[in-house]
């Protein structure tokens, strides 16, 4: 058994049970999310381990990481703030919101704060067009939506994320 299997034996079993026994490959996307929980990105090691579990080539797993935008092959900030700057949100001021947020945090779009905590990115439609400006926060633990945002409320969200991260580090 490899590291991923040892650590998440129960989760992996549950995931595999969703698909027919001869269609294990279907589990590649949920397993990638599981691997990403560890370091916020999919490492070479994780690619190999997922390939082993599913009995496919690790290049095939890598192609999935490359194709889908919510998987990362490089580490980024601990939290990814993904602002929807797509057309319907842009009609409600999301581009200005994004620009101001980047200025306030002192990063370029796509950049990460010096403490490695927050990466700010513009993304495509998140199905929240009536509550723009909005962003999602992606971390290893999952995704959450934050809607009808102002710069002030966004900074509060970020402050809370930092605090939670510190608390968790303190507990470890």
């Amino acid at each position: 058994m490899n590291t991923l299997e040892l650590k998440y034996a129960q989760e992996i079993e549950k995931i595999l049970a969703k698909y027919p026994p001869d269609q294990k490959r279907s589990a590649v996307m949920p397993l990638l999310y599981l691997a990403q929980r560890e370091e916020n990105y999919v490492s070479e090691q994780a690619l190999k381990e997922i390939a082993e579990i599913l009995e496919i080539a690790s290049t095939e797993v890598a192609s999935i990481v490359g194709f889908y935008t919510l998987y990362y092959d490089q580490p980024g900030g601990k939290f990814r703030i993904q602002v929807c700057t797509d057309m319907p949100c842009a009609l409600r001021g999301s581009e200005q919101f994004m620009q101001k947020l980047c200025e306030t945090l002192g990063v370029q779009p796509g950049g990460t704060t010096p403490d490695g905590m927050v990466t700010v990115e513009g993304v495509m439609c998140l199905a929240a067009c009536d509550r723009a400006p909005m962003f999602q926060v992606q971390s290893g633990e999952g995704l959450s939506y934050h809607e009808n945002q102002t710069i002030e409320s966004a900074l509060e969200v970020i402050e809370q994320l930092r605090k939670n991260a510190e608390r968790r580090n303190g507990n470890e």
């Binding site: 490959r25 949920p30 990638l32 999935i64 439609c125 995704l143």
Partner: protein
């Protein structure tokens, strides 16, 4: 709507997302009725008679699709399309968040109708929290004997699983979704064969949108005739319209199909902010042709037959409002940026076409384009037409062609040489 809500019932029934409350309001009676007293094909016939059409965008008759299932090849599957990603669409989200059991009951009835023992809900990766919520609701259904083996004492068994995508718009296209569910790149398949004969894992599969399936329990409970009292003859039933853009009250509105644009925009949506004039409407999200918002257009009923008379489609009914302050060249640049990003890369006309079109729209919008670039953009768009494997490529050009045809002045203004440049040119000559 005189009958009250059919889909967004949570708006008048508090806590409808709780199993007990849902059951107190007739929940799972339709599934029980189907499994205990109807043959699978009878269920399909009722849905066919109701005239329900797919709410994901294509408007294909749902019962007809179910009747296409290949009964010589087993097992069968049902996949609920919860990959809601069309810019301007946010209706399935509200249904799953607030009325999840009616949706899941619809999935279960569809599965019974085509005798599938496994159904998947394919959610876009961003709907992580909704997937967690649905997993919990599915678990509650199991505990209450509403899923699992020998449903209601019959020999029919059903399991429902969620499956999360990971940020690819193309996976809302049904054949790309099936590829993705198989753990492959989300790229469309060549069709035929269509999913009812060759779907996920190569088995007969019915793929339906969340909103479509959410209609089904009410149709089984109250009958096809009742359903046809709403909407128009060819587009019966209610529809959730997602209203966004330059509008006072953006949000979801459940209205009969055939409601006019004017009623949606000015009565329900509260009109245009700051007293501005409405300029254009995109009725099907970024995949729309641009509708010139004149009086005749505003009085057009929003149904699958009438919107095409405006040279546009209703699609998923994600109605984006554009006011007079927006230049259409900016709008086209945004939509093209989206399609360029989301093209899956499988077929050349779409991959290269969206790349070059976005290059041109960017150049036009930044004021660096020559006047002939507008015609070049139009030409490139025309060359993409009819050459793509799926609708993404085809839809990417709708806004470009209609934008240039119907709002040419916005483009010409952007590419006209500026006064200073004219003088400089004259001086050089």
């Amino acid at each position: 709507m005189s009958e009250g809500y059919v889909l967004l019932r949570h708006r008048e029934l508090p806590d409808l997302d709780q199993l007990e409350v849902y059951r107190q309001n007739g929940g799972f009676e339709a599934l029980r009725k189907a499994v205990n007293s109807m043959k699978p094909d009878d269920v399909t016939q009722v849905v066919k008679a109701s005239g329900l059409r797919g709410r994901g965008g294509a408007g294909f008759p749902t019962g007809v699709k179910w009747s296409f299932i290949d009964n010589k090849n087993w097992p069968h599957y049902v996949v609920a399309n919860a990959d809601e990603s069309e810019p301007g669409t946010f209706k399935d989200r509200e249904i799953m968040e607030s009325n999840p059991f009616q949706f899941l009951e619809g999935v279960a009835i569809c599965a019974y109708a085509v005798q599938a023992n496994v159904a998947y809900v394919y959610l876009r990766g961003e709907f992580w929290q909704i997937a967690e919520l649905l997993d919990q609701k599915i678990q509650e259904m199991h505990s209450a004997g509403l899923l699992g083996d020998q449903l209601f004492g019959s020999d029919y068994s059903l399991r429902i699983y969620t499956h999360l995508g990971a940020g690819a718009y193309i996976c809302g296209e049904e054949s790309a979704m099936l590829e993705s569910l198989e753990g492959k790149l989300g790229q469309p398949r060549l069709r035929p064969p269509f999913p009812p004969s060759y779907g996920v894992f190569g088995k007969p599969t019915i793929v339906n949108n969340v909103e479509t399936l959410t209609n089904v329990p009410m149709i089984i409970n109250r009958g096809a005739d009742w359903y046809r009292t709403m909407g128009t003859e060819k587009s019966p039933g209610p529809k959730v319209f997602s209203l966004s853009g330059r509008i006072n009250k953006p949000g979801n509105y459940e209205l009969s199909l055939g409601t006019t644009f004017r009623e949606l925009i000015f009565e329900h949506g509260g009109g245009i902010p700051d007293g501005k004039q409405i300029k254009a409407i995109m009725a099907a999200g970024a995949s729309s042709s641009l509708i010139v918002a004149n009086e005749a257009a505003l009085d057009t009923p929003m149904d699958y037959e009438s919107v095409p008379s405006l040279g546009a489609q209703l699609g998923s009914a994600s109605v984006i409002i554009i006011d007079e302050t927006v230049s259409i060249d900016w709008l086209i640049n945004k939509t093209m940026h989206f399609f360029r990003h989301e093209s899956c890369g499988k077929c050349t006309p779409c991959r290269e076409g969206t790349f070059w079109m976005s290059h041109l729209t960017e150049r036009i919008h930044s004021g660096e384009a020559a006047p002939e670039d507008v015609n070049l953009l139009y030409d490139v768009a025309n060359q993409v037409r009819g050459k793509c494997l799926c609708a993404l490529g085809e839809f990417s050009i709708e806004a470009v062609l209609s934008g240039i045809d119907r709002f040419r002045a916005d483009f010409d203004a952007r590419v006209a040489p500026k006064q200073g440049e004219k003088l400089a040119e004259a001086a050089e000559n």
